[in-house]
């Protein structure tokens, strides 16, 4: 069966001031199936957000998606779509929710108008029908008293409610895929839990696929079926979430787990990764994690491919799999 979304060798390039080219997303491949949640996990600058933007052809200028990349939605390559056809996909078949709802919402339009706008962009319905649909959507995302909130402006809403409005807008055209880029990072932890539950419920009820982009391993646990860990523009580990949590195969992933303080169990000293994430202009030629890796050896001077560490479990590390 054709996967819902298939990304092969996605590369995003930006011209560099010195005349060269950098690739903040450098050969990313993954598959997203209907009704499932795939998480892209990594620290700032790893390319996870840019990957999400590239899928919708929203890479900020002067960056561009390289022509050799393949982005197939139900087998159709989005790379070959013209801008008009892309507009249908964007917000239509693929919806998007960003971290900061305040900057994505229009401050001078009511919540209802913005959701109705989303409804009418993809369906020819009257303004009043669109508003009725908006009210139903607000109810669906768990906003109490949607009839009243419909007529309120973003500044009158709390952070959690704004994010619910953003989700309603993304849902307005009944997308098959929802890209959620750090959807709860700006929210308080008790509100974050509400939004994550909501996304999970919507996925189940609508059979939607979710691409969850986050820096937080805690958000991934128990929410995502599968995950890709990204580092320096590349996927360094790809497997089911359970496999990654039970036996992380890449030293970077293990480093992330060692860095996260826990709320239960014995309190132990953290084992951080040394150094910091290098900018794209300073990525090493071989394995990009090698300079920070406690397990590096001579072979790491050349770049490993994403290879099988276990069945269904790939890692971009020379130590992964049977050749180790």
């Amino acid at each position: 069966m054709t996967p819902l979304l298939e990304v092969r060798d996605l590369r995003v390039s930006f011209p560099e001031s010195g005349g060269g080219t950098i690739h903040p997303v450098d050969g990313v491949s993954f598959t997203l199936e209907r009704g499932r949640t795939l998480a892209l996990v990594g620290e700032s600058g790893c390319g996870k957000s840019l990957t999400g933007l590239a899928l919708l052809r929203l890479v900020p200028s002067p960056g561009r998606v390289e022509a050799s990349s393949a982005i197939r939605l139900e087998g159709k390559d989005l790379m070959s779509f013209d801008e008009r056809a892309m507009r249908e996909v964007r917000g239509g078949r693929i919806g998007m929710v960003f971290q900061d709802p305040m900057t994505s919402l229009n401050p001078v339009l009511t919540a209802g108008d913005q959701i109705a706008e989303g409804v009418r962009a993809h369906r020819s319905v009257s303004r009043s029908d669109a508003l009725a649909r908006a009210e139903a959507l607000l109810g669906e995302v768990g906003i109490a008293d949607p009839a009243r909130r419909l007529h309120e402006y973003p500044h009158q809403l709390s952070g959690g409610m704004r994010q619910r409005v953003m989700i309603s807008i993304a849902l307005a055209a009944e997308p098959e895929i929802l890209i959620a880029d750090e959807p709860t990072t700006a929210l308080d932890v008790t509100v974050q839990a509400q939004i994550l539950e909501l996304l999970d419920r919507l996925r189940l009820e609508r059979g939607m696929a979710v691409l969850l982009i986050t820096h937080d391993l805690g958000v991934v646990a128990g929410r995502a079926d599968d995950m890709c860990v990204m580092y320096a523009g590349q996927i360094v580990e790809r497997a089911s979430t359970r496999q990654v949590f039970e036996a992380p195969a890449h030293p970077y992933t293990r480093g992330l787990f060692g860095s996260v303080p826990t709320i239960a169990g014995p309190r132990e000293r953290l084992t951080p990764i040394s150094g910091s994430v290098p900018p794209p202009t300073a990525w090493p030629g071989g394995c990009r994690f090698a300079p920070r890796c406690p397990e590096r050896f001579a072979r790491c001077d050349s770049m490993p491919s994403l290879r099988g560490a276990a069945p269904g479990h790939d890692a971009r590390c020379w130590l992964a799999g049977d050749e180790a």
Partner: protein, 330 residues
Amino acid sequence: MTAPAGAAPLLEVRDLVKHYRARAMLGRSSPPVRAVDGVSLTLGRGQTLGLVGESGCGKTTVGRTIIRLQEPTSGRALLDGTDIFALGPDALRAFRRRVQMIFQDPYGSLNPRMTVGDAIAEGMDIHHIGTRPQRRGRVATLLEEVGLDASYASRYPHEFSGGQRQRIGIARALAVEPELIICDEPVSSLDVSVQAQVLNLLSDLQRARRLSYLFIAHDLAVVRQVADRIAVMYLGRIVETGAADRVLSSPRHPYTVALRSAVPEASMAPAAGRIVLSGDPPSPAAPPPGCAFHTRCFHPKRDERCRTERPELRPLGGVQVACHHAESTP
């Protein structure tokens, strides 16, 4: 880990109140914002007190009031028994040597036109510590102590990453040899791998220098990593406080229970009975009467009393908790 019985605490805060006057509109004055509404804290020497809560709970205001960046509405704060709020200009300068602060955004707190070395030395200049060459040498030592290269002294803040800037902020705070550092969300803008480095650094410095920390953060797991004791704030008041392990292993206040349950744990172990609170925290300009948490509370025994009578902190099972029904918290 705990202070010897009977030893005077380094910092003692009693009934701290900070209300902000809202601007009068159309001749009518609106009610004040009760940012901090009667907070008491105790911090022992060499210890870390984690002050935890969500945005708007007043935790940052507590820190800023203690260090006199803001004036309190009422209440007392004692450093070694001396009333901080009564200090005159000279005494305040001496106080600032003993108490320093580290902020969330290290970039915002460093002057972009000042070299890192000058920024670190500034406190020593103000307090006339050492000769000029001595201060230079001291800057180099401090940079190395926080894990940076001594040669960085001649560079500018924009040349550094977020984690390096936070190390610079820590070196700057250490320069005047303080006893107490108020850390306000010191790692919340850092990537996890760097966050772990800074948390370990703070622990190492504490041990080496017998520092005391008031560690203000929204992240319960981060607070657990560093704190001996924890105080949980909700809408300007402390709802539960006690030994960190105790408060987190068997929380008695329903808000602490919910906060702990909402922490996304990086583990596949099933989250037993996750509690998802409904709604948002109410505005501190109009806190609910009675127990401020009653509008979101899930305690099976919540009743009329919760809506009318404000619960005070009371001892229960080794912690202090402000809930009428803490004995039967699920």
